[in-house]
Subunit: 338 residues, 2 copies
């Protein structure tokens, strides 16, 4: 491996001069500077980032953790994180956990051992180092920002939307467009997203004075397939629904097909509303009405929070809630406005 010492030798200068040509070229005289640059080119030298980091104790590498990259919802968030990160001089790497604690801990170890500077967590799992610190009432052991999910009482900055309110909005929309027997395909209840959205559904119904009848609720795991299966169960359970709120778009896409394959139509027989505003939802048959989360803003806010944390600033631990939005397409009946 070619090191700074090899360059120094070949250029007939000291290692300090080489280092300076690299980081403050104006501080070294042009003749030496060009000799050094020549040597660097000749030997194809690239400074060893490991050694430099050891010396500088600064980290330009951040990690964004997602449960699964296959989920297109995360991509918008990640993209905006990356854009901001880039501007702020960081490098972003993405880690996928597949909801496995060991994988997550593996990535957390990178931060614990200073191979990376900080973590943005998009999933519903917490690194065990964080859980442990909570249990011991200690501070969180590294720069951490939470996005999308909510963790009660975790002392770190977080950003999300008000999932419960957004879910309630979706249900109200179904009601306002004429649905009277509104069911739901809920997300996994192990996770705050799933719980909040189900609570929103419940709250909206009770605000509307509707009783949640048995056979109106099924649970999925946010996948297309689970949405399909849950819809089949709803259809079979005699709930006699005319509208269904799905806790995300992927399950709604599965549900859509279940409805059609049962010989029913959307929105004619059963209206459907999803959550997340996936690109694929807009091109489903019929195009899916949904709740849009401000993915760009979500990512940007999270990234700026992490930057503030890394700059040593103290960041407010109260969750930042961003605005959501109803996107009306053809899977719900049209509102009669006037």
């Amino acid at each position: 491996m070619v090191t700074i010492r090899d360059i120094a030798e070949r250029a007939g200068v000291s290692v300090a001069t080489v280092s300076r040509t690299l980081h403050a070229p104006e501080a070294v005289r042009p003749d030496k500077r060009s000799r050094v640059q020549q040597a660097i080119a000749d030997l194809n030298y690239a400074p060893n980032a490991i050694a430099r980091q050891l010396r500088k104790r600064r980290h330009e590498t951040l990690i964004v953790i997602v449960p699964e990259i296959a989920n297109p919802f995360f991509s918008g968030i990640i993209q905006s994180i990356e854009n901001i990160a880039h501007d702020l001089g960081y490098r972003v790497l993405i880690g996928e956990t597949q909801d496995r604690q060991d994988r997550l801990d593996h990535y957390a170890d990178m931060v614990l051992s200073r191979a990376a500077g900080g973590l943005i967590l998009l999933g519903s799992l917490l690194p065990s180092a964080v859980t442990a610190s909570m249990a011991d009432q200690r501070a969180i052991p590294f720069p951490l920002v939470l996005a999308c999910e909510r963790f009660e009482g975790l002392p770190c900055p977080s950003v999300a939307i008000d999932n419960q309110a957004a879910a309630a909005l979706a249900v109200r929309h179904l009601w306002e467009t004429g649905c009277r027997r509104i069911g739901t395909i809920a997300g996994p209840q192990s996770n705050s997203l799933g719980r909040d959205r189900l609570n929103g559904y419940r709250k909206a119904l009770s605000d509307l004075g509707v009783n949640l009848e048995c056979g109106w609720m099924e649970e999925g795991d946010f996948s297309i397939e689970s949405g399909h299966a849950a819809m089949m169960r709803l259809l079979g359970s005699g709930g006699n629904l005319d509208g269904v709120f799905c806790a995300n778009d992927e399950m709604a896409i599965g549900a859509l097909q279940a409805i059609r394959s049962s010989g029913l139509t959307t929105p004619g027989d059963i209206a459907l509303i999803g959550f997340d505003d996936l690109r694929f939802g807009a091109f489903a048959t019929p195009p899916l009405t949904t709740i849009r989360q401000p993915t760009g803003e979500l990512g940007e806010t999270a990234m700026r929070m992490l930057d503030a944390l890394l700059q040593g600033g103290v960041v407010d631990h109260r969750p930042v809630l961003l605005a959501h939005e109803l996107v009306e397409r053809q899977s719900t009946k049209q509102r009669v406005d006037n």
Copy 2:
């Protein structure tokens, strides 16, 4: 920051003993070992990975580069890469380029500067360090494996399917199910995937003795939206098509909607076949006939190649071609078998 020296001091031993308790506990006497472990727990010590890497010159971090994580096709590949990588003791991070050279080079720099051990490249862009080395007839400057795309004459291991043959298979399938005027929505011609699939289309037509008429071909950029737009152009160009081969599933999903919104049906009026076998394609209306790539095998092969490279082995530079498969669903007419 708490270092190994702090632990040594608190436990009343030397740093060597601490290091040994960490990596070869059986080599240190139980009493000291437990004193050290106690000190580690007390001070919440985590060894500095940077320092260790500098000393050990080994890399357990690999980078997988994708053009955009939003593309669900890549997720299957990445997942299998991660599974194998994990078993082999590597840590995988994902970098997204959004087809921008500067981003790609940024990740390549991490390998060049030894912040990571190697690269698996899934996109159509090459790091400039690699292009430069090719131009100078030098060897590629770091462990690199290519998956999915093909680069003529690049001396490094690669794995893919035979895109041209697969595209030809798709076109033949349309023919065999009765289509006689077969158009295509091609991928970007800047990229080998797009080119190979278009060549396959051309070759299949000429093998079938069909003349490619004007108005049968439009180009998209692999996105849903571009597929929609391209299909609208095809419909307007008077090519009078009864079947269309789309160079990927996302464009096919866009095309599907364009056809429907024009009052036509699939496969009745126009049959459609895609490429990649996305999950969303299986749940489209109608479910999409497509070509499946063996994503799992693709990822596994790439990862094993990179491991071999990192182990210092010499790996064959001839591209490894894996088998593809036709997945018949309802967007093409049913074959009359007998």
